[in-house]
């Protein structure tokens, strides 16, 4: 079975973001970028399935600026076999990504697609289920465990009340939650090897899809700031403040 994983290049989760002065967006120039953490988990899961002999090939796909190819190299250093890079100038949103992915999947015919549950830049959390809908495939979102047996995937999902397990008929789309696995670090030899792995480049024109954003960003602002409060010396003062000043207990 072939597995397709999607990886997005985003501002590193440890970076404190800066909002552009004109309110048009978030500054991404000269900022540390990394693979979306949920996509690292997707890559790890796919590579493990290959190591277990369940998958025969793992292919990674990204949509983004030239530098997004580095993210594909990282995925290949983690064990992905080959990569597809689709050059995008300007913005591409979840719906556009899903439409384009559908075209790639029609051609690649994977048995399983693993994606992040959300990209930590837009926190939009929708590409996986939109894609699954377009393909007419079942979906296992927010996965914390994936078991493949025959033509079925058993996916344990993190839901608000606890955990739930669903059985999906393959091919299927799975989106990763944080507790699915602990992604590996790429070793230096594997980073070197990844440079030689095949990276195919495609254009949106070749895919012939409309990826015009349907969500126009009118403005981006900082959130209201909480004014820092005070430190209190002891529990008695705290109780007094909560009762008489904040009046919350």
């Amino acid at each position: 079975m072939k597995i397709l994983v999607t990886v997005k290049r985003v501002i590193d989760y440890n970076v404190k973001i800066r909002i552009k002065a004109d309110g048009s967006g978030v500054e991404t120039q000269n900022v540390k970028m990394s693979m979306n953490p949920f996509d690292e988990i997707a890559v790890e899961e796919a590579v493990r399935l290959k190591e277990k002999g369940i998958a025969s090939e793992v292919v990674a796909v990204t949509f983004g600026p030239t530098q997004a190819q580095e993210t594909l190299r990282t995925a290949m250093a983690m064990g992905v076999d080959r990569a597809i890079y689709i050059a995008v100038e300007g913005e591409i949103q979840s719906l556009g990504v899903a439409r384009a992915l559908k075209k790639i999947i029609d051609k690649e015919q994977p048995g399983l697609v693993i994606m992040g549950k959300q990209a930590i830049d837009n926190d939009s959390s929708q590409t996986g289920p939109i894609l699954a809908a377009m393909l007419g495939w079942p979906q296992g979102t927010f996965a914390s465990k994936v078991d493949i047996a025959g033509d079925k995937a058993h996916v344990t999902r993190e839901i608000d009340g606890g955990l739930e397990t669903v059985a999906l008929k393959l091919p299927a789309v799975v989106t990763t939650d944080l507790r699915l696995n602990e992604p590996r670090y790429a070793s230096l030899p594997n980073i070197m090897k990844a440079k030689k792995k095949p990276l195919e480049t495609m254009t949106l024109a070749e895919l012939d899809v409309d990826v015009t954003p349907t969500l126009q960003v009118l403005k981006v602002e900082p959130p209201p700031v909480r004014k820092g409060g005070i430190k209190v010396p002891d529990v008695d003062t705290l109780i007094d403040k909560l009762k008489n000043e904040a009046k919350v207990i």
Binding site: I120, Q126, L215
Partner: protein, 310 residues
């Protein structure tokens, strides 16, 4: 044109998240219909019909909807969708699973996790774990929207008298099956609806300590218990306790964080609380920057003292 809400429920009762979503929908200014899809859920449909401000309840009762499988429920939503301008669901694991699939079937995007409504096509939503707030205008033909409960009041559960109409979709899409669920049981209030939340982090050290130190304070205050991702990952508490960017978003009157450093991903889930108390032995922990009241000290001294003096 009417607004449709996909109700979150457990086949017995509406979830509070649905009432918040109804209140958000009311701001769009159009009549509001509620879809109750489930199995043996007539009581839920009746409950929805009694909510103030509902024009109509659509009741889809089918074994295929019993466990809210996205493949089955999204197909039903997509079938109904062309008659509506806006389709809303709560931004919970329920809504975030089903609504994007329904949107995908209609070749539309979702406006996720909105916190305000500026107009019929313009919405406000947090991005980058709440470190930026975006105002977006949707050009999709149908607006699919998930609503952050804490940003909207709850609609009044009584006073309405809407008509209930039976509807049906294709039923079982034959793609997926429900195998089972492990739901955490608790006598405490639900995390996202609680007036007070007591959360513990890695500093709590163990599941045992959660029981001996954090839970007694929560019980004294009638509070829900929350946790940081580090505490969940270490196995101190179940995953559904997690507060943050990828966990639950809470906005109680009082949030007490003990042994939590205050990573941005955690703050994303609790910064909207009215009053924040931080208990941490590190005076430089970032959590103090958002706390109204901070105590620098060992949580194993401070929390039990607080519990006994309250």
């Amino acid at each position: 044109m009417t607004t449709l809400i996909l109700a979150e429920h457990d086949n017995a009762h509406l979830k509070p998240s649905t009432l918040h979503t109804i209140a958000a929908a009311a701001k769009l200014g159009a009549p509001v219909a509620v879809l109750v899809a489930g199995q043996n859920c007539a009581a839920v449909a009746a409950e929805a019909a009694a909510v103030t401000g509902i024009a109509e309840v659509l009741h889809a009762d089918n074994a295929a909807y019993a466990n809210f499988l996205a493949e089955n429920v999204a197909a039903l939503v997509a079938k109904l969708a062309p008659s509506y301008a806006h389709i809303l669901a709560p931004a919970t694991s329920f809504g975030k699973n089903i609504l994007p699939r329904a949107a995908g079937l209609c070749d539309c995007a979702v406006v996720s996790d909105i916190i305000a409504i500026e107009g019929t096509d313009t919405f406000v939503r947090p991005i980058y774990a709440g470190n930026a707030i975006a105002t977006v205008k949707s050009t999709d033909k149908i607006k699919f929207i998930t609503v952050r409960s804490t940003a909207f009041d709850a609609a009044t559960a009584t006073g309405g008298n809407a008509a209930v109409k039976a509807v049906d979709g294709a039923g079982d899409a034959g793609l997926s099956a429900f195998v089972g669920a492990e739901l955490s049981k608790s006598e405490r209030p639900e995390l996202t609806a609680a007036r007070i939340v007591v959360s513990g982090g890695r500093g709590v050290g163990s599941g045992e300590n959660f029981k001996m130190v954090i839970e007694p304070l929560a019980d004294k205050l009638g509070a829900a218990v929350g946790a940081s991702r580090a505490a969940v990952d270490a196995g101190y508490v179940p995953n559904d306790y997690q507060v943050g960017q990828t966990g639950k978003v809470v906005a109680p009157d009082l949030y007490i964080a003990a042994g939590i450093s205050g990573a941005i991903q955690h703050l994303a889930g609790m910064k909207g609380s009215k009053v924040i108390v931080a208990i941490n032995k590190d005076p430089d922990a970032p959590i103090f920057a958002v706390a109204d009241y901070g105590i620098v000290g060992d949580l194993f001294d401070v929390v039990p003292a607080l519990t006994s003096k309250l």
